[in-house]
Symmetry: C2
Subunit: 452 residues, 2 copies
């Protein structure tokens, strides 16, 4: 993607000359997150070689830190049996994410080489929607049966310490005979209690758990509200299925916010990186643009109704794009504030009147300020004060309309369960453009005798 | 802000009729996050009453969960001594955040009633920049001296279990005589080791720590890279000052992404909620709009140069706003992708050529598609194929220009340490509008004989 750092150049040199031991030494000395940053800088065709040069567990740690699309690409470049050795060392949630990004055939080919128990877990996790608690959870958790005393629980933990080393670190889960979640126990309370304390006495029995089908955005709200380090995921009948950790929630929250900005500018699905194929990048943008251009034509056709007025006062043609653009800007500010307030739960989809009142006050003030500026420009340019009054008044009115529509459209869309980020812009632009052209040209037609 | 739920109505009823015990029962039964959601629904003048009806520790937990501005407003409505009782029960980082949102006088008045040790900590935390590791950290952490054995460490923890109950749950920090950070110890490794193990043998001595002046955005990257539950914050000479936890990082990351979207639409400082005063809401939007309108006038003045052409082919006036708007849309998509790739470290500010190449390919494809659509519209409307060719070609060319500028402007701004989110849009719009008007009117002037 660009000129790599010296470290990355050295790594590439080792890889192209087949010095795999040196690769292992260079990457092995780093934290997985740092090693992943280095692997990202390699050209794509060397990334799989870099991972294959490492012990599988170490390669798995690095793979977990790579961006999803790069990780998938690197695994696709490996033979399925080699890929399987690495993949089965990954945390189960990361493994499922990765397999999801491969084609069904590729995922299948790899799973055939993964050991049976692990493959079964991966298939189960793959059955959940990617953007649900089930799709985000990992199957690694420490369960202990009801009724144990603390010292026995500690003994059990010690006996499996190696296996548990990679598990989420802070909680144990108390389950009944049927595997149903009965309570959550913090590691700290286990450490601080007396040896003969029953774990049922120190567990949190009103612990918050979530259903496997809870959407990711709801899950983020749970983490935001309760500040947990991890949340247990249960089935309809209460069986403990897995655990979602805080860093999954962090990742989801960041991705959502990022993608919201992209959808706001009309990039479908909220996903585009420049190393995706042209077809996909172009298509994601074009689907929205091609709807938008038709809406634009509809709005601009208002101008066609007033060709005679325009012919008489050609100066108006200069102000039409300004009014269209400025109203779009003012309206989009209101859209962005509404989208943010909705996503932070500060307004509800039914708070129309409240939002309208707030936007009208802003629209009156800002519209007046903008109207005065543009009115003065028109007056000084053409020496006709009435032109200034008409253009200024039109921008004032249209700013008021734009912020009102901009503030309300996201609420309406959310209320009818559409995504406000992707649809608000075009609806806003079409309505405000049509309205703006109508107001300025309508006023000009009516008072044409003042303008010449 | 809108019609409250039944629970909130009931709570308001208890508060206005002075039934404080019932308030305490209703709120006390809820998790602090849930109680805060209910308090948010109350009218502003009842929020402080609700908090004052509770034991201070419980009120503090709820206060921590309220949005910053609401928490500050509620505390401002209290007498300083009553506020102090609650404030000193808050976690130190939350306390500092809250005091920061008050006026210096108000903060001072409250701190005079806070107990001395706590006030000293609060003043120290207030001395750090709000958006730095120091400003985000809390002063509560469990430090143990070098050289202890595990059983003594556990004994120390047990002896202060009550005090430690609210501390971040997962790590202990090993310090030397001078209070310098020597290593990090997970609670789990302490639980799983033998009683006579030296903590120096199980501590992580290459633990990652951050300096107090690390900016918040860098800190988010540390959490994204290492998945820690908490990170210790040290001074220049290594002294352990505090701890930043994962949920601070989550909050910062979300706020940053949210504010980026607002800045993208030109809301200065990236901060606006509709319950802020009109003056602030209007001002935040207007400062950007008033620059934008001047840029718009500059771009539209290109139209004024071609009044004769417009007079001759008045139909062109219909297409000017369309070309301006569509180029703006295409360009903003490229802007959003660049901003996101910059914030995810997927491109560097110097990757001009790479970004340019990627955008040119998208611009060629999408510009052609949009040009054909608008060309056909022009042809069918006026029955003049040449009008279609000129308008279509102009949109194609201008789309190419818009995505190139849109992709590069954020990189340029970042390179010169300006915020790409707030400045990219106006620069883009001005350049593409001027260019678009110039291309379509220039072409039309040159081939005027084909258009009539």
């Amino acid at each position: 993607m660009e000129r790599p750092t010296e470290d990355a150049e050295q790594l590439a040199e080792f890889l192209t000359t087949g010095q795999n031991e040196r690769v292992a030494v260079q990457l092995g000395a780093l934290h997985p997150g740092e090693a992943a940053a280095l692997v990202r800088e390699l050209p794509r065709h060397l990334r799989d070689d870099a991972l294959l040069a490492l012990p599988p567990a170490q390669a798995a740690d690095i793979l977990e830190e790579l961006p999803d699309d790069m990780a998938a690409a690197a695994v696709m470049d490996m033979e399925p049996d080699a890929a399987a050795l690495i993949v089965q060392e990954m945390q189960t949630d990361e493994e499922a994410d990765l397999l999801q990004d491969l084609s069904a055939d590729q995922a299948q080919a790899i799973l055939e080489h993964v050991d049976r128990e692990d493959a079964a877990i991966a298939r189960r996790l793959l059955s959940y929607d990617e953007d649900s608690a089930g799709g985000l959870m990992q199957a690694e958790f420490i369960a202990i049966p009801q009724g144990m005393v603390a010292s026995d629980a500690v003994r059990q933990l010690r006996s499996r310490a190696v296996e548990y080393a990679d598990y989420p670190a802070s909680y144990l889960y108390v389950v009944d005979n049927a595997g149903r979640l009965d309570g959550v126990l913090s590691i700290r309370s286990l450490l601080l209690c007396e040896a003969d304390t029953g774990i049922d006495d120190i567990k949190l029995s009103n612990a918050v758990s979530v259903q496997a089908d809870m959407p990711a955005e709801e899950l983020v709200k749970v983490f935001r509200r309760y500040h947990f380090l991890a949340v247990p995921v249960i089935s309809d009948d209460g069986e403990l299925l897995g655990v979602v950790t805080h860093d999954d929630a962090l990742r989801v929250a960041e991705e959502q916010a990022d993608e919201e900005m992209l959808r706001f500018t009309g990039i479908a699905g909220g996903d585009e990186f420049r190393d995706m194929p042209l077809r996909r990048r172009s298509g994601h943008r074009l689907s929205w643009l091609s709807i938008n251009i038709l809406l634009n034509v509809a709005a601009a056709s208002v101008i066609a109704l007033y060709q005679e007025t325009l012919q008489a006062v050609i100066a108006l043609a200069v102000f039409l794009p300004i009014i269209s653009d400025m109203s779009g800007c003012s309206g989009n500010q209101a859209v962005a504030v509404s989208i943010r307030e909705l996503s932070l739960d500060r307004i509800r989809p039914r708070s129309f009147l409240w939002v309208l009142g707030k936007e009208i006050s802003v629209g009156l003030v800002n519209g007046l300020a903008l109207g005065i500026i543009i009115g003065l420009v028109a007056w000084f340019w053409k020496g006709n004060g009435w032109l200034g009054v008409i253009v200024g008044a039109a921008l004032w009115i249209n700013t008021l309309v734009a912020v009102s529509i901009g503030g309300l459209v996201p609420l309406l869309l959310r209320r009818f369960r559409h995504d406000p980020a992707i649809a608000s812009g075009p609806i806003l632009t079409t309505l405000t453009d049509a309205c703006g052209f109508f107001v300025v040209l309508g006023l000009a037609s009516k008072y044409l005798y003042l303008l010449n």
